[in-house]
């Protein structure tokens, strides 16, 4: 099959074939990062602008390294230190960036919908690095890649996603992607952190963590955001960690071969304890490593690279 997309905005829009293509191609890009000279000339002369309107370490670094390994020129702009902090609207900022003729803009933005709007209006490629509570497609692709690399398949796997589903773009993108690829998804959260209409997502839903644990091939923990506590979505970190935190006791309940994932950054001691985050089941750093390969693949494909995988 061929990749015909200029942009990568939402896993919801991708077909299983397209997801499969990205995962297949990512293996060859991963190999580049293992070389002594970690650079190929594929995107030489291309300009990638990284517009990050929200704090990010992992995603931004990962995109920047991915672009550089493909020889693209990268420019990174963050909200502080840009004219966004002077009150310029996002679309003005975006049009100004576009006037400087980038080939691709990677955008992270605190509100939903801007990447989609940019994709519609701009001539260059747009890759969504996470928008509001909407989607974080590259995270879901690297998560699926990591799972497939570990288990050799996605079909039939049971993946538990635990935590603040309501405000999580990572959870949304993963649910859509994993379902398309034939995995079973179980969402675990207190009712206050389950989004309206979640029952239509095709995932199983549980407010109890323990019964889900022995069934899961992978447990993906979501970060607890402190601001949700201020908004009274739950009672406090102590109670949260008792009911929804991954700790030694729960790790011991996991079935043989099951793995632990986290999109980062972790709140150690809240949703995950040291002995869970650092145990042999954890593939958290594999996720980070694979992120570079996935982003290389997407940069390559969106800037007109041909998919040579049948």
């Amino acid at each position: 099959m061929n990749w015909s997309r200029k942009d990568v905005i939402a896993i919801h829009d991708l077909t299983a074939d397209e997801i499969g293509l990205v995962l297949d191609m990512a293996s060859s890009f991963k190999e580049i990062s293992k070389r002594d000279i970690k650079k190929v000339p594929t995107l030489r002369g291309k300009t990638v602008v990284l517009l990050f309107y929200e704090p990010s370490t992992r995603t931004r670094l990962s995109f920047e390294i991915a672009a550089k390994r493909l020889s693209a020129d990268t420019v990174a702009l963050s909200a502080s230190g840009s004219s966004f902090s002077k009150g310029e609207t996002i679309m003005d900022a975006v049009y100004n960036v576009t006037a400087m003729a980038p080939d691709c803009i990677v955008i992270r933005y605190p509100y939903a919908g801007i990447p989609a709007k940019m994709a519609e209006l701009l001539p260059c490629s747009v890759i969504n690095g996470g928008d509001g509570f909407h989607e974080h497609p590259t995270q879901a692709l690297l998560d699926m890649y990591t799972l497939r690399e570990h288990f050799g398949r996605l079909e039939g796997l049971t993946v538990a996603i635990v935590g603040d589903i309501m405000h999580s773009r990572v959870a949304r993108s993963n649910v859509y992607g994993l379902k398309k690829m034939g995995a079973n998804v179980v969402l675990v959260a207190p009712k206050t952190l389950l989004p309206p209409g979640v029952e239509t997502w095709g995932a199983h839903i549980s407010t109890e963590f323990d019964p889900v644990i022995p069934e899961a091939d992978a447990i993906m923990m979501l970060r607890v955001q402190k601001e949700r506590l201020n908004e009274r979505f739950f009672s406090g970190e102590r109670e949260y960690s008792v009911f929804y935190g991954l700790n030694k006791r729960r790790v011991d309940m996991m079935k043989d071969g099951a793995v632990i994932m986290h999109p980062g950054p972790m709140n150690r001691g809240v949703e995950i304890t040291h002995d869970a985050a650092d145990c042999a089941r954890s593939i958290i750093l594999d996720q980070v490593e694979n992120g570079v390969a996935i982003r290389m693949t997407l940069l390559y494909l969106s800037m007109g690279g041909t998919a040579n995988v049948d």
Binding site: T89, A112, G132, H134, P196, G197
Partner: protein, 422 residues
């Protein structure tokens, strides 16, 4: 002046037939339904046109004073005239707020000099729309207000709302309530449901509206006083109103054209012209509102014309202000409901003429001899496209931009004077 050869539709008098109308000294002098009379006065040829009572829109934001960059009385009244609307009730959320007689007098004076149509101000229920102290309703009534409302700043305190209703009734002022419990869905920007979760936007549940509709109809029941619920958007809220009406509570309500014609699906694509309060709801809500018009539970259709400048609307969906304009598209929307949902045009017309006139206790809304000659001539055969260029408001925030419209206002008369003609 005579209007000859048109089809007169005047639901207040049960007229729907060919006839001529004689206007003299700003009043309707005569309605002749059998045979044309010779005259040497000015004659407007209405052949092929529908002759309607001038429309009354009981929920409009004219933004003056304070937000003249969005709209002012001149531009808003021009848009209204082009839409066949001859009376608007303008909301008090101006700057300063219309919570005292000086602001009321300012609006009334401005309207007298600048407005093409009749502009009737609504005053605030509470000072500064703060929901705590009652405004000077009596003095404002003397200065010209026809109703009180805190509109988008729903009076949250039930005790204050009760006092507000009792105080308003003292001065025979209708109370208009925008029902929204801000503690439910405070950060919401669209209807809460599967779609809001999909789009990653915070939701406003139907519950936020229904809770206050319940409260206000219970207040009306307990006090025996009337309440008008504005822009109902949920089928469940309408059901609460139906039950209240059935048991004799003095409750009336209006709905907007956008809630009658659009659903939350319009938010896909994050078009900020699909962001309004209450939010666009589900298809089943929309159909329930249409049935409510057919059955008569819905009394009025009002636009909630809410102009916002382009640079305000040209923001992220989360950050853009709520509201859309609607004056010029009201009558085409009504005509579309007539054509597509088989509701009699006359029934629809009551919702923008005699019903709001009765609820507000104002003259107009009919073509009865002796009343002010506010008349709209409508060409049902015309079709046109509503574009940015056709917008007469200062703001262009319409969800209907680019849509083909069937039926067009060709002439609008206010107190016997032609204020719009194409």
């Amino acid at each position: 002046m005579w209007i000859k050869g048109g089809t007169i539709i005047d639901p207040a008098n049960g007229i729907e037939q060919a006839g001529d109308i004689h206007i003299r000294e700003g009043l309707i002098a005569d309605v002749c339904l059998n045979g044309s009379r010779e005259t040497d006065e000015e004659v407007i040829d209405a052949a092929g046109l529908w002759v309607l009572p001038g429309l009354i829109d009981m929920h409009v934001h004219l933004r003056e004073p304070g937000f003249e960059y969005k709209e002012d009385i001149t531009s808003g009244s021009r848009a209204a005239a082009a839409g066949g609307i001859t009376t608007v009730v303008c909301m008090p959320n101006t700057n300063p707020v219309n919570d005292n007689p000086s602001v009321t007098r300012y609006i009334v004076e401005k309207a007298r000099h600048k407005a093409l149509i009749r502009v009737l101000p609504a005053g605030a229920i509470t000072r500064g729309l703060q929901g705590t102290e009652l405004s000077e309703m009596g003095l404002m009534k003397a200065a010209g207000i026809v109703a009180v409302t805190d509109d988008g700043k729903t009076v949250a305190d039930a005790g204050i709302m009760r006092r507000g209703m009792e105080y308003a009734a003292t001065f025979e002022l209708p109370v208009i309530s925008h029902c929204q419990d801000k503690s439910l869905g405070a950060s919401g920007v669209m209807n809460e449901g599967s779609l809001s979760s999909r789009l990653g936007l915070a939701g406003i549940p139907s519950l936020a509206e229904d809770v206050v509709i319940s409260r206000d109809t219970l207040l009306a029941r307990y006090t025996g006083l009337p309440i008008h619920i504005t822009h109902v958007s949920t089928s469940s809220g309408l059901e609460i109103i139906r039950q209240a009406k059935d048991s004799g509570v003095r409750v009336s309500c209006d709905v907007t054209p956008h809630h009658l014609l659009l659903t939350e699906e319009r938010v896909r694509g994050y078009d900020t012209n699909a962001k309004m309060y209450p939010p666009l709801r589900r298809e089943e809500d929309r159909l329930a509102l249409i049935e409510g018009i057919r059955s008569g539970i819905v009394d009025c259709i009002a636009t909630d014309h809410a102009p916002h400048a382009r640079d305000e609307k040209d923001l992220d969906f989360d950050l853009a202000p709520f509201g859309v304009i609607g004056l010029q598209t009201l009558l085409p929307a009504i005509y579309r409901l007539h054509r597509e949902y088989d509701i009699s045009f006359s029934r629809l017309l009551t919702c923008v003429t005699i019903n709001p006139a009765r609820i507000l206790g104002i003259e107009g809304g009919s073509l009865s001899p002796g009343v002010r000659a506010d008349i709209t001539l409508f060409d049902p055969a015309a079709s046109w496209v509503f574009t940015r260029e056709s917008v007469l408001s200062k703001s262009e925030n319409s969800p209907f931009l680019g849509s083909e419209m069937h039926g067009r206002v060709v002439l609008t008369i206010v107190e016997g004077r032609i204020v719009h003609r194409i």
